[in-house]
């Protein structure tokens, strides 16, 4: 097969799909390499149309999953029977986290985690891009909100994002489809929170990458059917994934060669040209090695994997890994800390219920440290809440109140409309600590003879102080909205890094090659024809779900790469 291309894209997830689409649409013959198996849109979503009763013993995390996927399973929320085929086998893909537990959740297949992502879509704001400089922490972002804003517009309009316009600087509006409506209790909470807090906090509709009106480009992408089975792959293409959207667009150009089962482990560097010339690949199925060559390379294999490839790309010029003149490669590992908040029950709205299963609830954007009275002494940065309210059927406890412990009356009671309940959990920013890092262990190799990743990262004082506030404010907002039996969840100092599945950093963007790996266009400072546009590039984490930022940065970088190629600068 042909081994020379204009561009090579490593990875097919959120970022890789966008790189493939943009580069091929701009006319570049592009090789797209994916380490896992092929997943075709719809055809390979074998659980998508299964009804709940089709899972013998329930749609749960089984003991077999705990054996084969012990680390994917221990989050407690990712790999049930209906979705476990989209998460890796930990025994086949080991990593090391003996010092500090780290949950590295991965999907090795075409589409990557774009199939299983949470779909929440929030822009970073100017507060986030200025934060490091203002706080004197780590390094300054080399870009500002105005640099990325047009690219947010561009990707949002292409993928379809539903949301409500709020006009808040810390929660920038975008190009939205009509929002998933708040239900009657969520609307009540919106009113109560605005009325009862004078610090400007609001409860808005969650913004997610779902189509709520019309269609979007791709393989027949139409409006959400309110099944809430997104994690299994959507046969309507109603939420954005690479498989339904960007990869079909790239395919349609005729410029894409997509190769699954291809593990990229090294970028080839030419000492004379001072450029990367291609990649080294192991065929995951037969262990054969191959080399492919291109003028420009996009690393989009997820934060940890992209940095791991750079670390393995050693040469005389780069003895410590490609682009690592600063020594920062692998450092400044971040995530979002979450799993703390509150829940409660609500006595009102007995004459109201809901129909359909909307796949998103509400979002309470950041309201801490955005100036004036919102500034805190106990922590810097901020957090936002995701949550929802719903009504279910009656419980055993409510049957007790009606003096029926079992039998005919009991049987009738337990299927009656029960009470309303609501909950919220916060996602908070983790600062870019130099000591939070990943390294490679060449003494522990995987089945392809490649070094395994070792994690050493933990949350620190700032996050612990923030977590106390995250729980307390959730309790107060529920109580002031009239909830009963309000209970706080999660602990302040016990958070397992990686659980947010927002691992990022380790090859940060910056203005100075001495302190960062990438420049403001996502190019490696010292190897200008290598772009890293996944989570590895992040200079700080913000508290927003990051995928939309990776998409926007990737589209922006692809545009830059083509301009530079045309100018023969790379």
């Amino acid at each position: 097969m042909e081994n020379k291309f204009d561009a090579i894209v490593v990875g097919t997830g959120i970022s890789g799909g966008w790189a493939a689409k943009e580069l091929t649409e701009k006319g570049l013959k592009t090789l797209v390499l994916e380490r896992g198996r092929m997943i075709n849109h719809i055809d390979d979503y074998h659980t998508a149309n299964m009804d709940p009763w089709d899972f013998k013993g329930g749609d749960t995390i089984t003991q077999d999953a705990y054996k084969r996927q012990p680390k994917q399973s221990r989050t407690g929320y990712v790999n049930t029977e209906s979705s476990r085929h989209f998460f890796v086998d930990d025994l086949e893909h080991p990593y090391n986290d003996d010092k500090n537990k780290f949950n590295w959740i991965r999907g090795y297949h075409v589409g990557g985690r774009s199939l299983t992502w949470g779909r929440h879509t929030y822009r970073l704001s100017e507060f986030d891009f200025e934060a490091n400089l203002k706080d004197g922490i780590a390094v300054d972002w080399p870009i500002r909100y105005k640099d990325i804003a047009p690219w947010y517009d561009y990707v949002e309009q292409y993928i379809g994002v539903q949301g409500r316009y709020e006009g808040l600087p810390q929660f920038p509006d975008g190009k939205f489809l009509k929002p998933f409506e708040l239900n009657v209790l969520e609307n009540h909470m919106r009113e109560s929170i605005s009325k009862n807090f004078n610090d400007g906090r609001i409860l808005s509709n969650a913004r997610t990458a779902h189509i709520t009106e019309g269609t979007k480009p791709g393989l027949g992408r139409v409006t959400c059917q309110y099944r809430n089975r997104c994690m299994r792959g959507c046969p309507y293409g109603a939420y954005f994934s690479s498989n339904s959207s960007t990869l079909p667009a790239a395919e349609a150009t005729g410029n894409m060669t997509l190769m699954p089962n291809s593990i990229v482990h090294e970028i080839i560097y030419d000492e004379d040209k001072k450029r990367a010339t291609g990649v080294r690949v192991i065929d995951a199925e037969n262990n054969q090695s191959y080399e492919y060559y291109a003028k420009v390379i996009f690393l989009c294999s997820s934060a940890i994997a992209s940095t791991s490839i750079l670390m393995q790309s050693k040469s005389n010029r780069f003895p410590n890994g490609m682009g690592n003149d600063s020594g920062e490669l692998g450092h400044n590992l971040m995530d979002h800390h979450f799993q703390t908040g509150a829940y409660g029950s609500f006595d009102g709205f007995k004459n109201k219920t809901t129909y359909g299963r909307k796949p998103a609830g509400f979002f309470i954007p950041r309201f801490r440290n955005i100036g004036g009275a919102t500034n805190r002494k106990d922590f810097i940065r901020g957090y936002g809440y995701q949550g929802g309210a719903s009504r279910g059927s009656k419980s055993i406890a409510s049957s007790k109140e009606e003096l029926a412990a079992y039998g005919k009356k009991f049987k009738d009671i337990i299927v009656q409309e029960g009470g309303w309940s609501g909950s919220m959990g916060a996602f908070g920013e983790i600062l870019p600590y130099h000591d939070n890092q990943m390294t490679l262990d060449y003494n522990k190799l995987d089945k392809w003879g490649l070094p395994t990743v070792t994690f050493d990262a933990k949350i620190r004082e700032n996050e612990i102080a923030m977590r106390k506030d995250m729980k307390q404010q959730a309790i107060e907002m529920l109580e002031r909205s009239g909830f009963k039996n309000v209970t706080g969840t999660g602990s302040a100092d016990n958070y397992v890094f990686g659980n947010g599945i927002h691992e990022m950093g380790t090859a940060r963007m910056g203005r100075n090659p001495k302190t960062s790996i990438l420049n403001g266009n996502n190019q490696i400072h010292s190897v200008k024809n290598v772009y890293v546009t996944d989570g590895a590039c992040m200079t700080s984490s913000g508290n927003q779900n990051p995928s939309i930022t990776y998409m926007a940065l990737t589209a922006r970088a692809a545009n830059h790469a083509v301009e530079e190629l045309n100018k023969q600068n790379i």
Binding site: D51, P52, V184
Partner: protein, 181 residues
Amino acid sequence: MNRRKALKNIGISFGSITFSSSILSVLHSCQSNELDWSPDFFTKKQIVFIDRIFEIIIPETDTPGAISLNLSRFVDAYIYKNTPSEDQSELNKEIEELTDVILSNENQKSLDDLNNTTLEKYLSNHLDSPDFIESNGNNYSQVFDLLRQMAVRSYKLTEYVMTNKLGYVAIPGYYDGNVDV
């Protein structure tokens, strides 16, 4: 492994299942005490006991009850597939011990020889009084509580109940957050 802790673990994990149910439909119901299927985890004798208790909790009326809806099949599959082995063996011990003490108290050899009124007495004693002590000196409130929880959960996850009682629609098509009851 503490036995009470095992039962609590199973209860918590069982409570976390959402929207799922027995694979068999009402059409394949089994009304007699002769099992026409082979349990993966429980013994046939244990399934007969569970079926009898479940049917007292959720009896057949003008709508299907626990036996018609094969709730014990769901529970057997769940425990087999989802429960750690140490919790499984504690549950097994607890059910064995409980059936033994009932048969011994009633001076019978087989559960078939006990009528529902007799079994209901045990259910009622332990659910009404969490401290009730059997003739062997043990209390079984927690296991009865777990059985009831499993019956209710699996009942609500059957195709029949989800579609006929709980308003489950496979493809809702739209969302309305303000529906009059």
